[in-house]
């Protein structure tokens, strides 16, 4: 709203400083800004990033550089095309890039990472009008696109085929000492340690459930610490919790969303456990395995694509958790976080409509003029 310097009456005796009128409130909380929130997310992502770098070293750094660089370049490019001031300063492109990189496998080809970044910013964000207007989480839009278009390179089979145990050992000899070779974290594989594939914990479980050779269950300890194969950001549950709690404490992420998601997984996973107590896979593995925590704390909490009201956020989180469990259990994919994010994003506007809070004391009647 424009400030105007108006002087309805003579103002001749006014002292030297020129004062102006403007509508209140005249103070604002300067500790809060869009940029500060984004920086918070970056800080929150650090533990996960560090864990990824410890695990995958130069491969992780490469993915991060490609995705962040790609997102920044795309943001600048599209802003120029729309003849808008580039909004690089708000750091949101960096956040998108980090989340994208952390959701990719370590061996993603560079061109695939770049394409994902451009799709994320271009289709995921800019066509909607930039930050604040997008309906879907940009990083997940980019991730979904390459997942479908380059299934061989970044889909579930990528982990198994592109990186069989031998190749893993060749390229990342340090995995052995981290205890992160699949054979080290496999818990009682059906045909003995030799048959263990290089699958991620979630894929290995899916394979085992399907009775395929090479399937196995992963030890909980490894899921928690993160010394397993998987997408860069999903490996360490502890790192996700650490960064996630920081975000919730800073209130940059709304606690209702991860709480709802974790609650849903605990309940659904608990029911699964009760129905099949001998499976060897517990609720804790449901929580720590795959990208659930990463998604619950860092992806679905993206404020732009989640509901505004506390009640809406809780329902949103619960739906997310339930969808993840559903997709894990019944879809062809071993993990369901990405599709679950996109699906709940689509219903966030509806949740907003359904959860209009009741004003204190009930709605005031509309006064007559």
């Amino acid at each position: 709203m424009a400030e105007n310097t108006n002087t309805p009456e003579s103002d001749t005796q006014a002292a030297a400083p020129q004062t102006h009128v403007a509508p209140g409130p005249h103070l604002s909380d300067r500790k809060l800004s869009t940029r500060r929130m984004m920086v918070d997310v970056i800080i929150g992502l650090l533990p996960v990033t560090v864990a990824a770098v410890i695990m995958f070293r130069r491969y992780a750094l490469l993915q991060l550089a490609v995705a962040i660089g790609g997102c920044l370049a795309a943001e600048a490019l599209f802003a120029c095309m729309r003849k808008r001031r580039p909004t690089l300063g708000d750091c949101s492109a960096i956040v998108t890039g980090m989340i994208l990189a952390l959701s990719l496998p370590w061996n993603t080809p560079v061109y695939v990472g770049l394409i994902a970044a451009f799709i994320a910013i271009g289709i995921g964000k800019m066509v909607f009008g930039g930050v604040g207007y997008n309906l879907f989480n940009p990083a997940m839009v980019g991730r979904a696109f390459v997942m479908l278009a380059f299934a061989g390179a970044v889909g579930a089979p990528a982990y198994v085929e592109a990186g069989d145990v031998g190749e893993l050992r060749d390229k990342m000899p340090w995995l052995e000492s981290l205890g992160a070779m699949p054979a080290q974290y496999a818990e009682a594989p059906d045909g003995g340690a030799d048959t263990v594939s290089a699958a991620t914990p979630m894929t290995a479980k899916k394979m085992k459930d399907a009775g395929e050779e090479g399937g196995f269950l992963t030890k909980f300890k490894n899921l928690a610490v993160g010394n397993t194969i998987g997408s860069l950001g999903e490996v360490s549950a502890i790192a996700c919790l650490l960064g996630g709690l920081y975000l919730c404490l800073r209130r940059t992420a709304s606690w209702e969303i991860p709480a709802g998601a974790i609650g849903a997984v605990v309940i659904l996973g608990g029911i699964g456990n009760l129905m099949d107590p001998s499976s060897g896979w517990t609720v804790l593995d449901d929580l720590a395995g795959g990208a659930l925590l990463f998604g619950a704390f860092f992806i679905v909490t993206d404020p732009v694509t989640s509901p505004l009201t506390p009640k809406g956020k809780l329902i949103f989180g619960v739906l997310f958790g339930a969808l993840v469990m559903l997709l894990r259990g019944y879809s062809n994919y071993p993990e369901g976080v990405m599709f679950a994010v996109l699906m709940v994003n689509a219903i966030a506007p509806l949740l907003n409509r359904w959860t209009v809070p009741k004003p204190l004391g009930g709605p005031a009647p509309i006064p007559v003029k």
Partner: protein, 457 residues
Amino acid sequence: MAMATTTPTSGKRTFRHGIHPPERKGLAADAVIEVLPTPARVKIPLLQHIGAPCSARTKPRQEVALGETIGQADAFVSAPVHASITGTTAMPSAVTIPNGRHMQAIPIKAADAQELAGKALLKDILGGDWPTSGLSQHSPEAIVEAVRAAGLVGLGGAGFPTHVKLRRNDDKPIDTVLVNGCECEPYLTADYRMMVEAPGPVVSGAMLAAHACGARNVVIAVEDNKPLAIDTLGKAAKGTDVGIVELRTKYPQGGEKQTVQAALGRTIPGGGLPLDVGVVVVNVGTAASIARAVLRGKPLTHRVVTVTGHGIVKPRNVLAPIGVTYGELIDFAGGLKDGAARIIAGGPMMGFTIGSRDYPVTKGTSGITVLTEDDVAKARETHCVRCGRCVDACPMNLVPSRLALASRNKQWDIAKRYHAFSCVECGCCAYVCPASIPLVQLIRLGKAQMPREEKKA
């Protein structure tokens, strides 16, 4: 700490949501109330309250004495105005008051001799003994009439005529008088100084108000950032049934709905008033004026105004006559500093900036806050990132971002669905918004522009 003794209060001492802006009360908190030297001229607006304007009762060039009625209230919801200095009237002329309204005012040119000024005036208004017993000798009708004749209106800013609130109404019996000493606006300290320096009239006035409206309980609510006030009030209320409730400091606790919620645990229905839940809320300054009107028969001619802010050379609390200009008060406080950017009537959250130093002080002027460029600096507006912080801050439990967007796009059906008319315009939403969106400003605009049914004549 003197806590409520006999008075049942079931409030949680706080309310939901709200914000913690910087208090900045230290600037003027320790400045003892000073009396403004009698100004050469005052201009007394004929409408300083919610309701019908007064009609002028004086002719131009008429001699008037301090306290003489110069504007009489003909309607029920109205309040008379009185000469705040002794002198000679002039032709009524138009003035603008800070909320932007233009109206008639009666100018008075000061006589050379003023019967009351300086220390004597201060003593007359706040000093002396204020009895807390034997008050029932005043009949409720007499109290209401004295309050009406004294021109009392809410001194917290809203300016609703006090006598209307105190009148007994058998449909809506009142059980509690709640004296609002929250003063939750940052910077302002007028009520605080009143509670510290003159707790006597506050307590007496509260008891008189309770007697008038038939309330059994009297509660004074003070935020816990004012321990000295809680202490002095506690001492003044010793031996009476008046309870002091210490509320946890938060903005906008002084809002009627929030004070009643926090202090008494009662929720005022949407669009309703405190009397709907059996409560009459009066500001501390109003309570003191009630005592003065009833016990001393004196009208409301002066009020304490905080002149403060980092744009003021010497922040002060000033006892000023109604009708003196803002400019004179600013000069009395040393004038503006370089870098002064906005002169605000009231506090920084809900006050209005004034465009001229010639605006007159009215009964509702609680303070003049001068902010600097640095204070008001704000980041560029960006898009709403739907962070929900405005939702978490809104004391009325609304969705400000949605309301503001609806106002901006003139989507009145959405504005109604999201309860635009429940907004109390406290400004919490705009204060917290990380995208610097002028939320309350947009909502306010929307409320004003929204097509509504005309009042049936």
